[in-house]
Symmetry: C2
Subunit: 147 residues, 2 copies
Amino acid sequence: MATADGSAGLRTGEVAEQAGVNIQTLRYYERRGLLAAPARTIGGHRVYPADTVALLGVIKTAQRLGFTLDEVAELLETSRRRHPTPDLRQRATDKLAEIDAKIADLTAMRAALADVVAARCDSLTNCTCADCPFPFIDISHLTEGSP
Amino acid sequence: MATADGSAGLRTGEVAEQAGVNIQTLRYYERRGLLAAPARTIGGHRVYPADTVALLGVIKTAQRLGFTLDEVAELLETSRRRHPTPDLRQRATDKLAEIDAKIADLTAMRAALADVVAARCDSLTNCTCADCPFPFIDISHLTEGSP
DNA sequence: GGTAAGCCTGTACCCAGGTACCGAATGCAA
DNA sequence: TTGCATTCGGTACCTGGGTACAGGCTTACC
């Protein structure tokens, strides 16, 4: 079996193994619109193009970095349709702000945790050590609203 | 009604409102071990110590920054028991590494997104613009394994 | 003491993101 | 051609983190 681009196709199990995901997850992503419905053998078995593995890598990465599956699906859908809308750019810009906020939060948390470690703090709420940095300095007062 | 430390107690609705959480969430956190079972009125209504609101702030912040409720619960439980184990310090150290990894991922993603914006890229997978930074440069090759 | 607001328990449900299991059909190699 | 591994579709279930009732009791205030 060969695909449009001439490369050999992959079966479900091969894709799943190479991408490190569950087979069920592939079908789930297909239902969710993240993976286009692949070609089929005469018998009905899926035959994926070889770059599906890379695509799954993109999906997993985007997801791990805070995009929901719906967001990824939309982004990919927009990509597939190829109308050169400023959509991706706009979304990327929006996401950039979100990511900056997350980085800021994480950086603040990092600092607080580093203080905890440095202060040899032993409790989150009742620490007996002097100069306890936890938890009422800045931990409670970080930016709200990007849960 | 007064609490052990002499401050006035708060009712469920007051705590929920001040902390910006749902009333049901308070009971949920109690079941999950994040909030200690509070005192009760004779009639059975919960009476929370005043610092519960701050505690909820800590919980929400920790959660938003990547700690699961179970992790927060364990941390708080350890705190309550007061045996000065190096537990918090150890966990904080571990979490520090996790947070550093996340920051690194986010920073990489930020850079990629910034490139997308700068390059006026219009597609996630088939971008026609020259110098397309998306998605097969570093997006797919970030650190795996802290989903 | 009446009454409305607030709270009680219990159970059920929601969303996201998957996983597991079923019995039947297919693929492939010996 | 036989036989075992894979895959099929469908449906049910799982975890995490909550939310939403229902039906009854308690508090607060006039």
